[in-house]
Amino acid sequence: MNKELKLMKGNEALAEAAIRVGCDAYFGYPITPQSEILEYLTREAYERTGMVVLQAESEIASINMIYGAAGAGKKVMTSSSSPGISLMQEGISYIACAELPCVLVNVVRGGPGLGTIQPSQGDYFQTVKGGGHGDYKLIVLAPSTVQEMVDHVKLGFELAFKWRNPVMILTDGALGQMMEKVELFPQIRRTTEVPEWATVGKPKTRERNIITTLHIEADKMQEINLHLQKKYKEIEQEEILYEASGCDDAEFVLVAFGLVARICQKTALLAREKGIKVGVFRPITLFPYPFNELNKLADRAKGFLTVEMNAGQMVEDVRLAVNGKIPVEFLGRMGGVVPTPEEILQTIEEKFVGELV
C-alpha cells in the first residue's frame, strides 16, 4: 500500500488525524495559536464522516459539551490554548473523576495572563500536576514533530478508552504553526459500539447509567479516590513512553520534552562536533513520567541539563528522578522565547565542561 505523505501544519495535521481516527464530535472555541484546528474541522469533518463540529460560546461550554458527549460514550475532542485551558479546568476535574474518555489538546502559548501567542511550555504544572481541583491525573502526551501531532491523536484515543481517562496532548504554538511531512493513517470508521457505562437511554434490560462526581459521604468519596489512584498506578506501570538518543555514551544528558527536545538534538550534534559527548532524553508521556529510566541514566552520566520554555517546571520531576545522584542544571526561556541550540551548548560548557577541565 502506498504511504499517504503530505506537507501539513501541525494544527491541521492534528485536525486531520481527528477526522481519520473516527472522532464523533469536536467542541471548541477560537484562540490563537490553535484556531486552525476548529477551522479545519468545520471545513472538512462533517462531509467526510458525519462528525459533529460545534463552535461553542466559550471554553467553559466546550469542556462541558465534551463531558456530555463523552458520557454518551462517543469519541470526543476539544482543543484550546493556555488561557482557554485554564477556563476548562473545572470541567476537566469532573471528566477525570467521572472517568470519561476524551482527548484534550493544549497548544500552549506564553503566559501568565493573556501573555503572548508565541510558543511556551509554561503549562507543564497545570497539565501534569493537576490544574483543576482534587487528586486526579491526565494521561499527557508531548509530541515533538508534526508527525507526532497525528500519531498522538490516535494513541490518545486508544489510551483514553483503554483507561477511561482524559488524555491531554500538550503541544505548543510553534508545533501548531510549523509545517512538516506527515504520513497519514487510513480513515478509521466511526464506531457504533456503545460502552456499557454510557448514558444513551436506559433499556429495560439494564440498570440506569448515572454519570456523577458527587458522593457526599466521605467514605464513598475516598473509595472513588482509591480507585482512581489504583488506576493511575497501573498506568504508570504500563504506558510510559520516552526517547533516548545518544545517551549510551553520553557524559551529559539534555532532558527536554516537545519541540525543545528537537532543539536539544541539534545541540547534541554541535557538541559532538566539539568532542563533548551529549545525549538527549525526551519523555513522550509526561504522565506517566519515566522516573526510573532517568534514574538509571543518572548512574552513567555526569550531569543533566533540563531545558524548557518555562521558569523550571519539568526540572522538578527530573530532580525527583535523579534523587541527588548527579547535578541537574536548568536552562529556561519564558514568555514565548525559544532557546537556540547554540545557547544550550554554551550552558553545557559553562555548567559542566568548564568545571571538569
Binding site: 460560546e57 467553559i60 461550554a61 462541558n64 456530555g68 470526543v76 440506569r208 456523577t212 458527587l214
Partner: protein, 279 residues
Amino acid sequence: MNEKRMTEEQHFEEMIAEESICIADNLVFEKPETLLDTPMHYCPGCGHGVAHRLIAEAIDELGIQDKTIGVAPVGCSVLAYQYLNIDMSEAAHGRASAVATGIKRVLPDKYVFSYQGDGDLAAIGTGETLHTCNRGENILIIFINNGIYGMTGGQMAPTTLPGMKSTTTPFGRDVKIMGNPLKITEMIAQLPGVYYCTRVAVNSPVNVRKAKKAILNGFKYQDHKKGLSFVEIVSNCPSNWKMNPVESNKWMEENMFPFYTLGDMKVPNLNLPSESKGE
C-alpha cells in the same frame, strides 16, 4: 411469646383483608414507572418532588424511558438522578445546558432534558443558557424558579424579588445595590432558536395539570427538530422562605405570580402548513 405470634397472625389476616380491596380496578393513584421508590431528600412542601413526578409521568406516557437522558444541575436538585429511573448525567454548576447540548448533538434521536434551578440557570450558567437557547438545540430545559438559593442555605438568587429577604439580603433585596430580578424566561422567549416557551407552577391541581402538559410538549417537540423548549416552573422554598408549606404557597401566589406571570410566551403554530409537514 405465643401471644405475640398470635398477634402477628391476626395482623397478617388484617393485611390480607385490606389487600382484597387493593385491586387494579380500585386504584386511583399509582407511582410512575420512571419514578424510583427512593425517599426524596426535599423539604416538606417543596415543589421539586411534584416536578420530578411530572417528568416521570410524561416519560411514561410517551413511552420514551429507554430514549431519554436527563441532566441534573448543582443546587437542591443535584441528586435528581436518584429519583428518576433513566440514564442521567450530573453537570457542573451552571453547565447543564452545555452538557445536554453535548449529549443531544451526538445522540440527535434521543430525548434530552436539563433540570436547573434559578442560580444554576440564570446566574452562573446564564451564558450557557442563552447560547444553548439561541442555537436552538432540540432539547427541553426545565427551569425551577423559587427566587432563592436553597441548597447553600437561602442566599439571594438572580430571581429574588425586590424587598425579599434572604441570608445575603438580610434587609430585603435593594435593587439599587443588587439590581432587579432577572426575568430570564422573557429574554429566552425572544430568541429565534426557542420553539416553545412557557411559565407554569405546581401549587394547585389545575396548575399541576398545566405543568404536566408543558413538560409533555417539551419532550414531544423534540421530534419536530425545530428548536428548544423552555419550561419555567415557579416554585416555593418553605425552608428558606421561613414559612410552612401552606404559607409558602400563599406567599408565592401573592408575590411571585404577579411578577412572574404564568402562561405561554411562545408556542409553535402547528397549523401552519410549513410546520405541519414536520421532518
